[in-house]
């Protein structure tokens, strides 16, 4: 029953003042008939604010929903830490510097070093490959391709961004493995003297394969977001550059790229976040070796998330705790990346906001 306007004098909390005594006018053309019952406006004096009403109820409900986000985050932290600590206490090696993963033994030995290294290395290589290409495609779609081609192509890219990662992982293992193996052998033959291409094989299920699959997976995401940003460049700024005698590329360099920079950074960081947290695609393509090595073509490589997926099945209580601890490290890494992205975007704000 709280929908009586007279009861909701606090409705003005976030908006303009509501003059409750005139609410009758809302009827629109119906003449006031004060004898038909209590007037909507609340009779003689100004209505009192009700203590409980739909308004307070609804406000409370939505505030609770907002607070739920905090609750979940705190719960994640508490429960992960509470499960990780016993395992970390049982660990007989240094968690941060030890490289292999035997948490299920009677004397659990496990460390995050090799896993964290693999996680960061695969993600960084993936982005180094994907970002230039993604920006190229984004520019093609926003400024080079004729509209008739750009619209459907952009749509396809958006769709590819939605394809689940397990599909890319499966493709990487069943299809992409062979060309990458041939390429690795070729690299090893002619560039074997470069440490990252050295080794005696076998090749294939390597950091290279994992990184490239990640790159292909991240590509549509970064492309789709960057394209959107590039398209938002004000046309009048582009025209200003052209009117100064800029070539098309110079126009892009002076207006489109600087304007889109914060958005592109955000897109890249989102891609990096996806790559760091990617589980299945890497679980299917990496060679699962606990080593810190920059050799990208030999069978090997591992990542925190892939390790969780691969070893979860046979983990005992300590093993699960150890995996949860590694998950905490992964969470921390992604958190740092997100914060860094936000810091970069905020720093560029001055120039952006005054442009509005």
């Amino acid at each position: 029953m709280g929908d009586d306007p007279s009861r909701s004098a606090d409705a003005n909390a976030g908006g303009p003042v509501v003059t409750t005594s005139h609410s009758r006018a809302a009827g629109g053309g119906v003449p006031p008939t004060p004898l038909d019952g209590p007037p909507l406006g609340g009779g003689g004096g100004l209505p009192r604010k009700a203590r409980f009403s739909m308004e307070t109820g609804f406000r409370g409900l939505s505030t609770a929903a907002g607070a739920m986000v905090l609750v979940i985050i705190i719960a994640i932290a508490i429960f992960l830490v509470s499960k990780a600590v016993p395992a970390l206490n049982a660990n007989t090696e240094n968690f941060l510097s030890y490289k292999t993963w035997f948490p299920n033994d009677a004397e659990p030995k496990f460390g995050i070093a090799a896993l964290a290294f693999g996680t960061v290395l695969t993600s960084v290589i993936a982005l180094l490959v994907a970002v230039p290409i993604a920006l190229g495609i984004a520019l093609f779609l926003s400024h080079y391709a004729p509209k008739r081609l750009a619209t459907p192509l952009g749509f396809v890219i958006d769709l590819l961004a939605a394809v689940p990662s397990v599909v890319f992982g499966l493709w990487g293992r069943d299809v992409f493995l062979n060309p990458v193996r041939d390429f690795s052998v070729w690299l090893n033959t002619y560039f074997g003297w470069v440490p990252i291409f050295g080794g005696d094989g076998p090749f294939g299920r390597s950091i290279l394969l994992g990184s490239l699959v990640l790159a292909i997976m991240v590509l549509p995401i970064v492309t789709s977001l960057s394209r959107e940003v590039f398209q938002q460049t004000p046309a009048m700024n582009e025209e200003a550059a052209l009117a100064l005698g800029a070539t098309k590329w110079e126009m892009i360099r002076t207006t489109v790229l600087p304007y889109g920079k914060p958005g592109v950074i955000a897109a890249v960081m989102l891609g990096l976040g996806r790559a760091l947290g990617e589980t299945i695609a890497l679980a299917l393509t990496l060679g699962t070796v606990f080593e810190i090595s920059f050799n990208v073509i030999e069978n090997g490589g591992n990542s925190i998330a892939a390790n969780i997926a691969n070893t979860f099945g046979e983990a005992n209580a300590t093993g699960r705790g150890a995996l949860i601890a590694s998950g905490l490290v992964l969470f921390a890494i992604t958190l740092v990346v997100n914060m860094a992205a936000r810091a970069i975007i905020y720093r560029r704000r001055e120039f952006r906001d005054s442009a509005a």
């Binding site: 306007p5 909390a13 509470s82 110079e250």
Partner: protein, 361 residues
């Protein structure tokens, strides 16, 4: 005016020097042919690679040659313009190859097991030498888990967004918004680990005589954690697009704020909100990692998401990918195709809905 008359920069153009020579198409093609020939001679002559390397080297040589020729004829600026254009076009070609390969493999390998049996049977009692077996149980699992997750995440997410846009003021709202951002960055496997620690290992034993129990519901909890921030974000964006005068108009009629939100603001923003929700659902449907950790991945049909292990399509793909049976890859690809179709239908519907949205940025 004396200051104006000086022109020390020397960039001014006059009608006498606006004409420029252009690189003719013949030269362009000539450079390309030369690059291919030279590349073939180097690569095949020295025997260091096959036709793939010939193409790669030829492309590199062509770009260098084009730049050199264009600099000679048209000048540095025009040459740079040409080169960047060429690089941007090559980026497209380069990316299309693997992406097209993914799509082609998905379709060509996916249709192999696209039969009635696949959609009507489970993997129960299917041995390594058994060519049949299907994903019925996994499809049921995906639908139930994603459905439950949507039921939980949508009210929570939309209400949370309403709080942020309509009620949230001051420190607390800023904190909530900040943590929504943090939550967006949670890797899906961490969400899975959270539900594993919280629900499967701690809460579920209370209902199951003290032993932890995997369930579809646990998976939907993890998916909720993943969907929630996306839904809050997209809904918030849509609510902010609702013009202020619309709200003020309602307030001026004496309509209380909650009613204004439910009757005026939400309906106006609805298409956009639904689009955001559908995209979140599509993403959740494709998640493998959290389901792998908490759903258990049963081979048999289990209709009850609260009782015992379930599978899901994404998890099914992963399980079949790891299966040694020679019939497993076909099942994996068909399940992947099914999953992609499901996700794409949702995504396309969401995009079409977004196009009809009247509120726009």
């Amino acid at each position: 005016m004396s200051l104006l008359e000086k022109t020390p920069t020397g960039v001014g153009m006059t009608p006498d020097n606006i004409r420029a020579r252009k690189l003719s198409v013949v030269v362009n093609i000539g450079v390309a042919v030369l690059a291919v020939l030279l590349s073939a001679a180097i690569v095949l002559g020295a025997g260091i690679g096959n036709w793939v390397l010939v193409i790669v080297v030829a492309a590199a040589l062509y770009l260098v040659g084009l730049y050199a020729a264009a600099s000679q004829v048209e000048g540095r600026r025009a040459a740079r313009d040409r080169i960047w254009k060429a690089l941007i076009y090559s980026a497209c070609l380069l990316a299309i190859l693997p992406l097209a390969s993914v799509v082609w493999t998905l379709i060509s390998k996916g249709v192999e097991r696209l039969d009635g049996n696949f959609f009507s049977t489970s993997m129960n009692n299917i041995g390594a030498r058994d060519p049949m077996g299907g994903a019925y149980h996994a499809i049921i699992g995906t639908l139930e888990q994603v459905g439950l997750a949507t039921l939980m995440a949508v009210p929570l997410g939309v209400l949370g967004a309403i709080y942020l846009v309509e009620y949230g003021r001051g420190r607390f709202a800023l904190t909530v918004r900040f943590f929504v951002d943090v939550m967006t960055g949670i890797p899906s496997i961490v969400a899975g680990l959270f539900v594993l620690a919280f629900w499967v290992l701690i809460v579920s034993p209370w209902f199951n005589n003290g032993t932890p129990r995997f369930s579809g519901f646990a998976a939907s909890l993890a998916l909720t954690v993943l969907m929630l921030p996306t839904i809050v974000r997209s809904t918030e964006e849509m609510l902010r697009l609702v013009p202020g005068p619309l709200r003020e108009g309602a307030y001026a009629l004496g309509v209380p704020q909650w009613k204004t939100i439910l009757r005026v603001v939400l309906p106006t923003a609805l298409p956009g909100i639904v689009t955001g929700i559908m995209l979140a659902v599509a993403r959740a449907a494709g998640e493998t990692a959290p389901v792998l950790l908490v759903a258990g991945g049963a081979a048999a049909i289990n209709m009850d998401p609260f009782g015992g292990p379930q599978s899901s399509l994404a998890l099914y793909v992963y399980q079949q990918a790891g299966d040694a049976s020679r019939y497993a890859p076909a099942r994996a690809w068909t399940a992947a195709l099914t999953l992609v179709v499901l996700v794409l239908v949702l995504t396309i519907a969401a995009k079409l809905l977004a196009r009809r949205n009247q509120l726009s940025r």
